[in-house]
């Protein structure tokens, strides 16, 4: 609607501008022509007829031209002749009057030359107190015509002028509004196409009206983008499938490596040193296993190949389970875990993929244990407020290396994938970011005070109330 208003305003302003422009141009041209004419040709006569008439005066019963200022030649320069008739039509004064004109004039003759010509001489007459002053221009130098109009017609024309102008104005405004509306419709069409394009859909704009060409180009661009997106999607799928395939194929050989390493580790017949080596192989196998799983999942999340199996899930049991699984795993042997959930967080319900969230917390907890082989105290805290659940996993170990924090910052900003040349290995933590983002939340990584690592995962709560059949625990 705002665009339509702007278009109407612009159209009307343009119409007004064009009208004013044409009028100004016409007036300018006319004035310019007159000025130019005057400069190059000047008037036919040096003095207007009425000035000459007024310069005549009676002296001693005879008419004389005032010679004080100019001579008779100067006064009448440009005129062919001049004469003065008395009331009876007799010539009482004359100047270069041709002999064939020097006679008494009847009333009908006077009326005829006053209106038209005198023997083809164009004439101008003035009634003065001393008689009728008549000047003649050279033949063929002046065109005369007389205007007259019926009064009723004249009055009618004057009276019609105002409503006619008003109607014109209304018509112009109406045409402007209509044109603006049509333009707006076409533009709206193109705008919707652009919006669809921005949303990743094909543009498909009707190619009609003033914007037909624009629409056609938009459609072409949309088609181009669609083909490009298809290509990218195909490539992403190929990459995801490739990673999934590799991670699948690695699993069976890795199972054998880990299985036999475990058996050797537990073989009492072997010397302690060999068993320790076998234990190291098994532990590294576990690391590869975690890496392969993380890599597979991170690629699936990156290319949206991992559908979220969302369901209402209570935060308390989910977190307790994750922490308990960590405590029950061998990794937690050297770690003390302090777990506390606020009553609000305990009852908080998330609309989430429980498996993925558990994976995120598992990664955070395992990270604390793996990077602090000497042991550390892990604290897990959960708070719920303002429609969001914040889970903090902190430890008092070595903390994140600065390069890791920097890499996580850029990864969160969507700049490239971690693990590219030179970047530190942060796959597990990047996965936490991805999982949080997939749930509409975020993950923040920082150093714990006075030392150690601190990760906070913030997730939006499900809009619904606590599902039936599960009551919140007593406070």
């Amino acid at each position: 609607m705002k665009t339509l208003g702007r278009l109407v305003r612009r159209y009307i302003l343009t119409a007004v501008g064009i009208t004013l422009g044409i009028l100004l141009l016409a007036a300018g041209t006319f004035i310019g022509f007159i000025v130019w004419w005057d400069r190059y040709y000047g008037d036919l006569a040096a003095y207007a007829p009425h000035r000459v008439a007024n310069a005549l005066r009676e002296e001693n019963g005879a008419l004389v031209l005032d010679e004080g200022q100019h001579t008779a030649q100067e006064w009448l320069a440009g005129y062919a002749w001049a004469m003065v008739l008395d009331d009876d039509g007799n010539v009482v004064w004359k100047y270069r009057l041709p002999p064939e004109l020097d006679h008494r004039y009847t009333l009908s003759q006077a009326v005829a030359f006053a209106r038209w010509y005198l023997d083809d001489w164009p004439t101008v007459s003035y009634l003065c107190d001393y008689g009728t002053f008549v000047v003649g221009y050279p033949k063929g130098t002046l065109v005369r015509w007389n205007l007259y109009m019926e009064r009723r017609l004249f009055d009618g024309a004057v009276a019609t002028l105002r409503p006619l102008l008003a109607a014109d104005l209304v018509l112009v405004v109406a045409i402007c509004v209509f044109s603006a509306w049509r333009m707006h419709k076409n533009l709206k069409n193109v705008e919707q196409g652009l919006e669809r394009l921005a949303a990743g859909q094909p543009a498909v704009v009707a190619q009609a009206g003033a914007t037909a060409e624009l629409a056609e180009r938009l459609n072409r661009t949309g088609e181009h983008l669609r083909r490009q997106n298809e290509l990218i999607a195909r490539r992403d799928t190929a990459r995801t499938n490739w990673i999934a395939g590799v991670s699948h194929d690695i699993r069976t050989p890795l199972a054998l490596i880990m299985g036999y390493a475990e058996q050797l580790q537990n073989d009492a017949a072997l010397p302690a040193a060999s068993r320790e080596k076998a234990a190291a192989i098994a532990a590294q196998g576990q690391k590869i296993k975690a890496l392969v799983s993380d890599l597979n999942l991170t690629s699936k999340l990156q290319y949206n190949a991992q559908p979220l199996r969302r369901a209402p899930v209570q935060a308390g049991p989910l977190l307790r389970r994750a922490v308990t699984d960590f405590c029950n795993s061998g990794l937690a042997e050297r770690c003390g875990v302090d777990f506390a959930v606020s009553p609000a967080a305990e009852a908080a319900v998330l609309d989430a993929d429980a498996g993925l969230l558990a994976r995120a917390f598992e990664n955070l907890l395992n990270n604390a244990a793996r990077h602090n082989p000497g042991g550390c105290a892990v604290t897990v805290r959960a708070e719920a407020a303002g429609g969001r659940l914040a889970v903090t996993v902190a430890d008092d170990g070595a903390g994140y290396p600065p390069a890791v924090l920097a890499a996580l910052g850029t990864a969160a900003a969507g700049e490239g994938t971690p693990g590219t040349a030179g970047a530190p290995h942060i796959l597990g933590l990047h996965l936490v970011e991805q999982i949080a983002a997939a749930h509409g939340g975020s993950a923040d990584f920082a150093q714990n005070a006075p030392h150690g690592a601190k990760a906070t995962v913030t997730l939006p709560l499900a809009p619904a109330e606590t599902p039936p059949g599960r009551r919140p625990p007593p406070a």
Binding site: T252, A255, L256, N266
Partner: protein, 237 residues
């Protein structure tokens, strides 16, 4: 079947090296009756000969897939089964469990984890046939889960209530590991009873009075603050 280790286990996987690994691991754990098959056809033959007590199935097999094989068997007989596969997608895991399999473990796996999960399934499936649910030894005290009887040297035997027996069963199944409040509530009252911690505390207190020498300073049934409870391992005394 008196002991879990007496169970007849059929292992189906197309990788001979993996079959050998699992066979050795199970043998080391005391399982004596092990058969292996490398294809669906071989598995069908083995099944036709003797009904196994437990199935470990791979999914990718040369002449079919583990899912259809399991469906086919499951339609005839209810044999406890565990999928052991390199397929780690949630979709596969959920599909396998949805078919009615008891568990789904992805390769690579920890031998110990496979053994624990097997034990868990076997104990649950053959509780009636096994030596009466087994006996839990708690130092001077021993609990027979079959008839819910607590015997202690120099004291009159005590009987567990059904809830206490279910709690102890769950804890004993995961002995040495923490079991969350939620998992205990679920074991006793079924799904959806999250947050019944106060009720749970009462039953735990009663259970401690029966199995602990000093119920206010428990050495077997331990509280893990904020998380749940744990039944201490037998090595501790």
């Amino acid at each position: 079947m008196r002991r879990i280790q007496d169970a007849d286990i059929l292992l189906v996987d197309d990788n001979p090296a993996l079959l050998a690994l699992v066979r050795e691991a199970l043998h080391n754990a005391g399982y004596r009756s092990l058969r292996t098959a490398e294809s669906c056809a071989a598995a069908r033959r083995a099944l036709a000969a003797v009904r196994p007590d437990f199935l470990i199935l791979d999914i990718n097999l040369p002449d079919g897939d583990g899912f259809s094989l399991f469906q086919e068997l499951h339609a005839q007989e209810d044999i406890p089964a565990l999928f052991l596969s390199a397929r780690d997608a949630d979709a596969d895991r959920l599909f396998g469990l949805g078919l009615g399999a008891d568990d789904y473990l992805t390769k690579p796996f920890l031998t110990q984890e496979l053994l624990l999960r097997m034990q868990h399934i076997l104990r649950r499936a053959y509780r009636a046939e096994l030596a009466q649910g087994g006996t839990v030894a708690l130092g001077a005290c021993s609990v027979d889960l079959g008839d819910a009887l607590v015997t202690r040297a120099g004291a009159a035997p005590a009987t567990l209530t059904a809830t206490e027996r279910a709690l102890l069963q769950k804890l004993a199944d995961n002995r040495g590991h923490i079991v969350t409040f939620d998992a205990l509530c679920e074991a006793v009252w079924g799904d959806g009873y999250y947050g019944y911690e106060n009720a749970l505390n009462v039953h735990i207190r009663h259970l401690r009075e029966k199995i602990e020498a000093d119920p206010s300073h428990p050495v077997w049934l331990l509280t893990v603050r904020g998380l749940g409870y744990k039944l201490a391992g037998e090595a501790k005394a």
